[in-house]
Symmetry: C2
DNA sequence: CGTCATGGTGGTCATTTGTACACCGGCTGG
DNA sequence: CCAGCCGGTGTACAAATGACCACCATGACG
């Protein structure tokens, strides 16, 4: 045969997946054009074969009716804005454009985060949270004892482990080089959110 | 003020977003049905208004031609199979995803991972890699000195820092409680892939 | 060689669906 | 009270597109 069919068919699958991820399933005409076919029917037959194999699902008579089977579908995506240094600051853009949200699988987190925050400093290395990590933060003004929280103290944003004792609040770093922060009554203090996971680029 | 746009119109926006995330933009008829309209034209006008406001983008004359603007689009999604406990000797190449794949934003990683691997043990806590973390792994049999790699030694999968010296290879843990692994010549050894980041649920 | 499966071309048909026009009822402002 | 806008209904038209049919080229196989 002139060309390897299996390679071509999987390339068509890749094309379909990419287009769906980009927001819209392709039509047969687009598949044909992308594959170099002159007629939509060639694409049609490939698509039928892919559906037969269970690699895609078809909505009959529906325009752009190609869907991915549930197992391969991204049905729990959440878009998270990436916040840089909150207080005074130069945005941290370099790697991920800050204006664009980052998409993550919602199943990744037990508690659904509202935004991602870039960690500054190494005060939490004892919990494996390093400088530059992106932590998922769920907005909340309440937190139980022992939780890792993002808090604002005197206008400074920090991520620390929360400790409540005798009605007082302490913020514990997880690095022996840092001292716990004791929140004085009347001091500017607020819990901004709860830590719910992190992502790190190697 | 053009009347309160937040109620019905934003519900339509949410509907559109949800459908796109599910794999296929809705048609006007579907929007009308979901919104309780009797005629597609009501949906049409709302969609036009949303496009006017820049909240969505329309591909003219194209069926299901609603797209999200680039800033809100998940255009670099990758589906990663999650490999769990790797039994001794089982090659990673023939991956059987234990679960559904996890979708992550490709921009998260400098090096595109091929799969996620659940970390066992605490031998890398010095690099902030904890037990239970999911590390992104890019398949590769080569690695430069100093990189964190996933390697197979005598059938055991480990994640360690690679050190090359005098033509020999050492695998360095990042935990003083563990000793470096010196790879003997003739020993079963292979680099499975390169560490390229991690995700952790808090 | 004859037959069949595979993979592609071209064209036709019917449905879906974007686009457009006419119109209506309620609300608001002058 | 009337003009005009807004949001919705109904209808109509045409483009996009899925579904299907007839047919051809090529290679594998008995």
């Amino acid at each position: 045969m002139t060309t390897d069919p299996s390679t071509r068919r999987s390339r068509i699958l890749d094309f379909i997946r990419q287009r769906i991820a980009a927001g819209q399933p392709p039509s047969l005409a687009e598949i044909a054009a992308a594959s170099g076919f002159a007629s939509r029917n060639a694409a049609y037959k490939h698509v039928q074969a892919l559906a037969e194999a269970g690699l895609i699902e078809l909505a009959p008579n529906q325009k752009r009716g190609i869907r991915l089977p549930a197992a391969a579908r991204a049905d729990d995506l959440i878009a998270l804005p990436v916040l840089g240094r909150v207080a005074a600051g130069a945005p941290i853009g370099a790697d991920v454009p800050l204006d664009q949200p980052l998409w993550l699988d919602g199943r990744l987190f037990a508690l659904r985060p509202d935004y991602l925050l870039r960690v500054q400093g190494d005060s939490m290395i004892g919990d494996g949270i390093l400088d530059g990590d992106l932590v998922g933060v769920h907005r909340s003004a309440e937190a139980r004892d022992g939780r890792i929280v993002v808090a604002r103290v005197e206008g400074e944003m920090t991520i620390k482990r929360l400790q409540r004792l005798h009605g007082r609040i302490r913020l514990l770093p997880r690095n022996p080089a840092y001292a716990p922060i004791l929140v004085e009554p009347g001091q500017d203090f607020a819990i901004e959110g709860l830590y719910c996971g992190l992502v790190r680029r190697g």
